[in-house]
Symmetry: C2
Subunit: 397 residues, 2 copies
């Protein structure tokens, strides 16, 4: 009998308890012995089938030698950070879906785990139940990873899908997402690209082996996206998607950012709709591989946490390949990246051509929408200075 | 310095040597020490940069205590089977992309590996460079896997893509695939569904935990597929794809088969084109997740083998969760499965309705193409007995 503890009993914590109970047979077959939730840390006691497991005193978990793995499902940084450090220091494996904590403190927590010879695993922090981080660090370990990009936030993808399908404005699509429970009452972290930003930082950390600090990563969401751009793009054979993207740069550094992109409709990412997520990894040997599924939700996220619990127990003493250097000096401004750019301007094709030379016109009706050739973000800024810009987005090549 | 041997120096073997050389830095960073190919087993010596590593005597590898991992890249069963047994018996990890050997002898080789406390790993046997087997056995370990299906053969998917895009007949599309090097001179294993069949057996073994014998799995390829069906399906909003499919049955058993299917065009599998592969796994907690990429090719397949070499070395003593029971008694005939069926008959809608009651008509012009309601394969056979059937396929719901 292997015993674990859960910190926090919200959506993820509850899901973990459910998965452990419902899939007990599968889990026991793989682990060789049963897995049991012994203790659940809560702030306020709640009635229900798990009432007798609850405590509001973390010490009861920290000092319990029978508890080998702790699932941190508190979220945020403060308490989660403190309890994670204490659990690792007490020689327990820690598993989490907490993308904010991993993006901000992952490197430090991983080195503490290393010192204590235990695992700190966080597959569920990116893509919910979709396996991404283990495939990246393990199955693609013989590759040099050159690029990672994807649709990392289900809420904004749902909003964009509604805008395309029904011609809804952003604000109406957001209200619909809130009514369906896909968006929170305060949707800032989702719609402003912060959630996707934390995930692309974690992916970049693991892909390139160096710390990518969230505060260096430009994050642009979909809140200022106009329905007009979505429609112009669609008529020209593109879909607008919010992408997190991390790229290895020619000089050996890397960059990362979150922003809406135009994606050609033939791209496998273009048909990722509703709350689904998809992540593309590009390795120098494997080429592009894509992972697709539900990026959030109680049971998918919880099942990824429980798989990490099992992995932590089976990887003795610990998975060495999950980690990265604290050195963040190789980070470059994403404005150094070359891409094609989409512009919609108040002005004529002549204005566009004056600024960029040859362009590809997408629409011309009072305003002009066009695509530039491949240019850096810096050049796009500089050359467009004289234009009256209504919107500007990168194009995924 | 960790030393390995490669058996066979065809496409995969050569690729493994290349990946080890080209990505030496990435591999060393993850392993903590350099990886080196010490010996290559060949039947005929070839000149080139690896000439001095070659031997035609397996004993030189078997008896070399410095060689910790053997990559079996011979293919087929006979020699590959013998050398794999001898390498495992000598206490060496074995890694392979050999789907035939794993499908036929995997269970036996895994128990030999277990007895010798070493790993037998074969991520590259399904989906080439796309991570599938590790995500299935490890990242989704907390799920009950209820279904696995996918486009498992790139050659046939290329042929089907050409038939849809250019209206080519099967025979012309096959010749085109051969000219491009996507199909072998003898394309039987690909076009008759045997290659996909071996892969679905391996996926079913791992997903359900019991041996699924290739000889029990009905395998139907695309060689008898008519362009007419491809076109009728397309006009009705479906794509024809060759799927391998394995399903957990209500009674606790399972079934598996390979056959062309009609797939609704909204399905993420419908847009998987050319030589790309995609596998969908359905877990009771995670829901459907999909893995997509190049399912074959020298470098993708080789990089998966090298990742397995690294995994074998890092998982000490061995990955316990990769394996299944030799008991194959739970296998049920796929005719027990319920699906919708597509029929094209020489006859009228009245004939179709007489046989199946209400049907959904797809086309009516001399011949009649229609979809049935959800029925078992047995009922489909029985009810269609009086009809003059031109073609019949399952529909993916």
């Amino acid at each position: 009998m292997i015993q674990i503890a859960i910190l926090g009993f919200g959506t993820v914590g509850t899901g973990v308890a459910k998965v452990v109970a419902e899939n007990a047979r599968q889990i026991e077959r793989k682990l060789g012995e049963p897995l049991q939730v012994k203790t659940i840390l809560v702030r306020h006691f709640k009635d229900g089938p798990f009432r007798q497991l609850m405590t509001d005193d973390f010490k009861r978990i920290e000092e319990d030698g029978d508890i080998r793995v702790v699932v941190e499902a508190i979220g945020g940084v403060e308490a989660a950070y403190e309890y994670t450090k204490r659990a690792l220091s007490a020689g327990k494996h820690v598993v989490t879906a907490n993308k904010q904590l991993v993006a901000e403190k992952g490197c430090e927590l991983l080195s503490l785990a290393k010192k204590k010879n235990v695992n700190y695993l966080f597959e569920a922090s990116v893509g919910g139940g979709i396996p991404i981080l283990h495939p990246l660090t393990q199955c693609m370990a013989a590759n040099r990873i050159d690029e990672v990009y994807g649709i990392l936030n289900g809420t904004t993808n749902y909003i964009l899908t509604r805008m395309v399908r029904t011609g809804a404005f952003f604000s109406d699509a957001l209200r619909e997402a809130q009514a369906k429970g896909y968006a929170e009452a305060d949707p800032t972290a989702d719609v402003e690209g912060i959630d996707a930003g934390r995930k692309i930082c974690i992916l970049a950390d693991l892909a390139f082996g160096h710390q990518v600090n969230p505060e260096n990563v430009p994050m642009e969401g979909v809140s200022r996206l106009s329905l007009r751009d979505v429609k112009v793009a669609q008529r020209a054979g593109y879909r607008v998607k919010l992408l997190g993207r991390a790229v290895r740069m020619p000089g050996g550094g890397c960059t990362a950012y979150v922003a809406p992109h135009l994606i050609p409709e033939e791209s496998p990412l273009a048909s990722v709709e509703d709350v689904f997520n998809a992540v593309m990894l590009r390795g120098n040997a494997t080429g592009e591989v894509m992972f697709y599924g539900r990026g959030a939700g109680e049971m998918p996220t919880a099942s990824a946490c429980v798989a990490d619990v099992m992995e932590a127990l089976q990887s003795s003493p610990r998975r060495e390949e999950i980690g990265w250097s604290a050195d963040d000096s190789g980070f470059e401004d994403p404005l150094e990246l070359q891409t094609r750019y989409y512009f919609r301007i108040e002005g004529s094709l002549t204005d566009a051509a004056m600024a960029f030379g040859q362009v590809e016109v997408l629409s011309e009706d009072g305003e002009t929408a066009f695509l530039t050739d491949l240019i850096t973000g810096r050049d796009a800024l500089r050359q467009s200075k004289s234009l009256n810009i209504l919107s500007c987005m990168r194009v995924l090549a």
